[in-house]
Assembly symmetry: C2
């Protein structure tokens, strides 16, 4: 059926036809498509475990009670939960396509995620948003969107696109767009920057949500940020910060991701006083983390292990995000809700035995049923695989006779220290050269500086994952190796490259916008872990993640020193040094 040719009356009659069957099945006049017999299920409305058959028709739950169905599963002794919702994730952080991401999270019970495609939008602008919309259509994990609010992240960034409110406005009509993503420019919001305020106002004019990102702001600044129209925050790392925001009406997304982990600090929110205003999210989730730890299920398990009431933990994992985002047909087990189920053995072991999406059994004992990859417009596929516009680089491009600032790494942190100036590479003193190469518009802008504390003793490391503009970052023990590594990244149309002695010693190809792979999650993880091992074998300090650490080096909002395409900047003074 081509919905584009459908009239309004046609749409109504199509939906009536489906609804009539739903009512017939609910009333017991027709057999259900699926019945979960003898289920114990979490009732998020009465805050208790209920018993009964759960009947499904047309992908929706139609009733609980006594039913028979074409397909029946006896769930005696098991517990049925609503499918989990990740309230805020950048899908790109998984380094794989949305289909691969879905395959990875389904066994963990995730059936809906709300994504902010701001990584790809920084590379491809609105084409990147559209690419992700198409690449997530009809996946067995529903992917809903928040539109990137800060592209570029700062005026200092040379990104692939600049998105003002007009650029993104038409996306609000898309049925899977829920609002405006994390307003990272909280300084702009508090100071009534019209470019920030108009983005918020436009989202409100479309009756959409606006997510926040404002760690640690307090008092009247916090009032101003919320009064501007920001409804949530996922950056709380202290209980005090979270409670101040809840008091003023914000919803809190308790984050447990790869780069930032706040669950433990925020556990006291998971009590009847506050939990209504809380949901779970991961923000960023890297391949190994997805494969080893899991997803929202991990947060639920941890919460329960720390003594949180299991029913409350489940509500935080599904119902609250659904209500916040006005996704009224999910996050509960009741008539009219999506038949998204997670079947577990018990709350203590929390072994996920089956996962259903819209009434389809998608996971059984960890095995994911096959499903097609959404078709993306060939024009967009081509564009997504052609995002590097950089002329061939030579060692000469990285030469610089003048002294440059030295960024000092701090193990275990993404903040850096100001280590003065250097004039040349000195591996004995662990002084490496670092460069950021503008790669979107062939401007030949190359910012050069020095890095201390990385540890590399030979060769170079380059990556096109560099927040948020995703220019190429390269660190090397010589300018020749830097050129080799960076050129190889361009040749590969993106990814991570490690070189030594004039050859590539390890690489991960990320050909979708330079930040995601066309390969499987397992292969991406294998290549990534192998590259990490090679980088460490070439001297990188084992106490730091060789690539993630670099990926934050060009983000000019994290103190102290950062490197942009125009040189080293002191984040505190916002001055080039």
């Amino acid at each position: 059926m081509n919905y584009h040719q459908e009239s309004y009356t046609g749409k109504i009659t199509r939906k009536v036809n489906k609804k009539l069957r739903i009512v017939d099945v609910a009333a017991g006049r027709q057999k259900a498509d699926l019945v979960l017999k003898n289920a114990s299920y979490v009732n998020v409305f009465t805050n208790e475990i209920c018993q009964g058959d759960i009947a499904v028709a047309e992908g929706l739950i139609v009733g609980m009670g006594a039913y028979s169905g074409e397909v029946e599963y006896d769930l005696s002794g098991k517990i049925v939960l609503p499918g989990f919702i990740d309230a805020h994730i950048h899908l790109e952080s998984s380094l794989v396509s949305p289909k691969e991401f879905a395959k990875a999270v389904l066994p963990h019970g995730t059936t809906t995620v709300i994504t902010d495609p701001h990584e790809i939008a920084n590379v491809m602008g609105t084409d990147g948003i559209e690419y992700m919309l198409q690449a997530t259509a009809d996946l067995p994990v529903d992917v809903r969107f928040m539109l990137p609010s800060c592209v570029p992240a700062t005026p200092l960034d040379e990104s692939g696109a600049i998105l003002d409110y007009r650029s993104i406005d038409s996306f609000y009509d898309h049925p899977r767009v829920q609002g405006l993503a994390e307003m990272m420019n909280y300084v702009g919001a508090i100071n009534a920057d019209p470019n920030v305020i108009e983005k918020i106002v436009a989202a409100q004019a479309h009756h959409k949500k606006i997510d926040g990102h404002a760690p640690g702001i307090t008092g009247n600044d916090l009032n101003a940020y919320i009064a501007a129209g920001v409804y949530s925050d996922h950056e709380c790392s202290t209980l005090e910060d979270a409670i101040a925001k809840i008091e003023r009406g914000q919803f809190i997304m308790i984050r447990e991701g790869t780069a930032a982990r706040n669950l433990e600090a925020l556990l006291p929110l998971l009590t009847p006083q506050y939990a209504d205003r809380c949901m779970f999210c991961c923000d960023d989730k890297h391949p190994s983390d997805l494969l080893e730890k899991g997803h929202i299920d991990y947060q639920v398990k941890e919460a329960i292990a720390h003594g949180v009431d299991p029913i409350l933990a489940i509500k935080v994992a599904c119902h609250h995000a659904a209500r916040y985002y006005l996704l009224n047909n999910r996050g509960a087990i009741a008539p009219g809700y999506l038949a998204d189920f997670v079947i577990i053995d018990n709350f203590r072991d929390f072994r996920i035995e089956k996962v259903f999406k819209r009434g389809e059994l998608m996971v059984e004992d960890g095995v994911v049923a096959d499903f097609p990859a959404p078709e993306v417009d060939p024009y967009l596929v081509k564009k997504a695989h052609d995002t590097f516009h950089v002329a061939h680089l030579t060692a000469q491009d990285f030469q610089d006779p003048r002294p440059r600032g030295v960024i000092g790494l701090v193990p275990g942190e993404i903040a850096s220290r100001d280590m003065g100036y250097a004039e040349r590479i000195d591996t004995e003193k662990d002084i490496l050269k670092i460069a950021v190469i503008e790669r979107h518009k062939n401007t030949r802008h190359i910012g050069i500086g020095y890095l201390q504390g990385y540890g590399l003793k030979t060769g170079a490391v380059a990556t096109s994952i560099s927040h948020d503009s995703h220019n190429i970052i390269v660190v090397g023990t010589s300018e020749e190796e830097m050129a080799l590594a960076a050129n190889r990244v361009v040749e590969n149309r993106g990814g991570i490259v490690v070189t030594a002695d004039g050859t590539v010693t390890a690489e991960l190809v990320l050909a979708i916008a330079g930040i995601m792979s066309d390969d499987t999650l397992e292969n991406v993880n294998r290549d990534l872990e192998a590259a990490k091992a090679v980088a460490i074998s070439q001297g990188v300090n084992p106490g730091i993640d060789p690539f993630m650490t670099l990926s934050f080096m060009a983000l000019p909002v994290i103190p102290t020193l950062r490197l942009t395409t125009r040189g080293i900047i002191d984040v505190n003074t916002q001055q080039y040094i």
Copy 2:
């Protein structure tokens, strides 16, 4: 400013301009319009009483903390609550215009009501809905609409209009329309009647709410009703009924109105286990009840008096309805929310000292500030005052040689008994003649029957309030008196008339669609109470309400016998007798 000539960009810039000031005031860079100093206020998010100044700009709360303003009130020792919300009311039941209604409820702290204009819609169809939308524009009580779902109430009714889904569809675009009102035809919904289902589906297609009305249905029937797409219920009179609905995901509106009072039975819902899914409503509220008892404040006071946690009672009275209806900027005291405040002395006495609407002081010590009546299109005003299309009636019209069924009144109930047949009026045996006169389309349809238990000894009583079609109901001791009373109702363009000995002994004029007065609430109440006294002095049983009892006589959904414009029907068999 003529918003009809505003472009989208114009709308955004207008809102940006306002938002910039809000942020400036919140951040403390500009003075607030209003500050409630030293306030103790109910924080619905943290479930506690908080302290601080509450700052207001542009009608919105901008922050809590330390602020100064152009106008300041020291509220030391007082408690500030968010304005109350009535989740379901037929404004017409107050018998006055929306402006008069607003004047009556403001001193009780009501700042938002959700109305279903189904009384006027039964008379005037979509013109009636539009009349109410215009008559409620910019009132200091926000009036939001649910579109009537059942006009006429049943196929047996001869109403002024028949509204299918297409007739009401364009109203969903109106910014004050929240959805589809109480789906009273639950039998149709459960039995998958396409005319019912298409109304629900259309409301869902507009992402709107659908309210329910289904007393006592259970099991798979209840599943079917909810699976059809009905999200709430306000007809629960037992705890069991309410919990069955909450379990299946419905929201419960705890009703305390004039005709039906369910608060006491449903008090156990007001506990942490269930209260999240509950709100307050009155459904119908007659003049004396409004003047003497109050409104939502009455429910809050009663709940607290019965031991309910005051903060929880307040949440039920404002926040929960706001969230259910997606009115995201009210029902709480926090930045970005409407500056709708109720100031009380304490929870025990619960004396409402001040009421603010959008930052304006509207009530002080019971005195309501003056405000203009919304302007209604003259075409609609004229139409609303010309809804009687009935030829002059004579005694002959009420003559009938054949025996007719006798409706037996049951004191204290609206249900009736089947008392057999009668052939003539016999006041000795309390057998009166009753007639329903079709009054919308001059069909000359007059249904005739007999009534026992009413008690009238002389004259007649006629009313044009007769649910839901609002035809004229007349009861009399003679056909001449019946003609006199009914003709006088028509002459008055609606209302209530009592006659005796060939003259009008009391009357209440309701010239707006025959169901609402152009006069003040106080005058309407005075005339109504006077008419009641006259009717009782003419013999009407003092144990029944002389007019409300009659107003349900033509509603063919309440057992046992009812009188339609085509004669007496047995509601249980749906057969004319």
